[in-house]
Amino acid sequence: MLLSVESLKVSYGGIRALHGIDFEVDEGEIVCIIGANGAGKSTTLKALSRLVPVEDGAKMTYRGEDLLKYPPEKVVSELGITHVPEGRRLFGNLTVKENLRLAAFAQKDPKKIEQDMEFVFSLFPRLAERRNQKAETLSGGEQQMCAVGRALMSGRKMMLLDEPSMGLAPLLMKTMFEKLKEINREGTTILLVEQNARMALQFSKRGYLLQNGEIIMHGKSEDLIANPEVKKTYLGG
């Protein structure tokens, strides 16, 4: 198992957002966590990135390493787990190229940085065109490309994706998911959280259904998509 999480609990100011969830991700997989707004999807990813403190008793291991021993920047730089945050959160005052370069902050080998940047630009030619533009001038789709590109610059092992479909037109969304498939084929394991359950289940191999901070169902994505309850609540009937 590449990543395994056991009894993960997270509270914000006394209010519990995650009530002890368990899940696993295998090497090379695409796994999704679906659920409504406020179910705890983003919190799950933030806990993995160590951006939010977790309660005692939680176990999170990645390649046998205890994630809780790593500060957030080392989850990225040493373990190679990258996180594309909700709403992209690009550094709007930096150019596209600077955003990408910054994400390779811990990378010492300039050749590797060059190669990774070439890979990002070949994946998203649009970014290459806009490389010297400030990130705040990009369109929503371009911003999402840049956010994914940034994650690719930090590492290619595992990517946590928070709502990549948010704010994208259907066609752009489809293109984005195709690109993510391509990234996965190149060897990056993907854990995705999405409100757009249909898109996420079509894209992934396995899925978890999160409701009010608890995982209430999990299984193969094709089974979940066919499940009447999931259909009714999350796929619009």
Binding site: L51, K74, F91, N93, S154
Partner: protein, 309 residues
């Protein structure tokens, strides 16, 4: 005012502006990345001046006793570099001890902590070295240039040029290096900075280090221009530099540098026209008026969480 008098005052204004600008940069950088006013910064300027005093005195003595003869300019360069280096650790220590534990606390608490650190630095100096004033050594022999009827000392020219060079170096550092990039990113959105594999604590420490090093340079330059040091020398000049940082626009480093010089100009020219006892009264009334018209300073953004660096 005759042209000669104008030029004479201009030279003085540039020198004073250099002090304000170098100190204001430290306020602005720290605010830019941590949204925190480091009210101990004026006292870090004072500590920098004292470190400069000890470094230069040691070097001058070494040179004069013939153990290690050095030219005056070399002593000056070494004094600046060594003192900036040492003072950067003072800044990092202040960040580590006083601000990092309070990063999640209300900003007012952190501001008050800063004031207390300032008092500790002042009174610590007093306890360590006593209340007597210290004389900053003459590192390079003063000479004067006559340009027409304008008289300028070599040290004044040196101070202005070195200050501007330091500001250009800082600007290049922030624009071109990955550390500078990280500082700008942190000013924009510090929450996601760790997701880039960048340690927030290291960037914060570095920002304090750079700000303090620049304050040390200002301290040495001040010591060269006005060679008497005392533990409270950082108070008024620190507050005025803080005013410059606000006037420039919180978090804007170009703004802080320009406003520092502007402050120098206003003070010197007010003093040239009015009795010097009215200098600060009039000068800061002018600044108050500017701030009521432009409350966010020259380069600040209105009510924005986006900071400029």
């Amino acid at each position: 005012m005759s042209l000669n008098a104008f030029l004479q005052n201009l030279a003085n204004a540039l020198q004073w502006g250099s002090f304000y600008a170098l100190i204001a940069l430290g306020y602005s950088m720290v605010y830019g990345i941590l949204m925190l006013f480091n009210f101990a910064h004026g006292d870090i300027f004072m500590v920098g001046a004292y470190i400069g005093l000890f470094v230069s005195t040691s070097l001058v003595t070494l040179s004069a006793t013939g153990i290690l003869p050095m030219a005056g300019w070399l002593i000056l360069v070494l004094t600046i570099f060594i003192s900036m280096f040492l003072t950067s650790f003072v800044g990092m220590a202040v960040e580590r001890v006083a601000y990092r534990p309070l990063r999640a606390a209300p900003r007012a608490s952190a501001a008050i902590t800063g004031l207390m650190v300032g008092i500790i630095l002042e009174t610590g100096n007093l306890a360590l070295l006593g209340a007597q004033r210290r004389k900053f050594p003459e590192i390079i022999a003063q000479s004067t240039f006559h340009i027409g009827q304008v008289v300028v000392t070599n040290t004044k020219i040196l101070i202005i040029i070195l200050s501007i060079l330091l500001m250009i170096a800082l600007h290049q550092f922030i624009r071109r290096t990955r550390w500078g990039m990280a500082m700008r990113a942190m000013a924009y959105d510090f929450v996601v900075v760790p997701l880039m594999g960048v340690s927030i604590n290291r960037i914060a420490a570095m920002t304090f280090a750079i700000g303090s090093a620049l304050a040390a340079a200002a301290g040495i330059f001040f010591g060269i221009a006005y060679p008497v040091l005392e533990p409270y020398m950082g108070l008024l000049i620190g507050w005025k530099a803080f005013v410059a940082a606000i006037l420039g626009g919180r978090g804007s480093i170009v703004g802080a540098a320009l406003a520092g010089f502007l402050l120098g100009f206003i003070e010197i020219f007010v003093a040239a026209i009015f009795p010097s006892t009215l200098r600060d009264l009039i000068a800061y009334s002018i600044i108050l008026i500017i701030l009521t018209i432009r409350p966010h300073g020259f380069f600040g953004e209105a009510y924005s969480a986006r900071l400029r660096l």
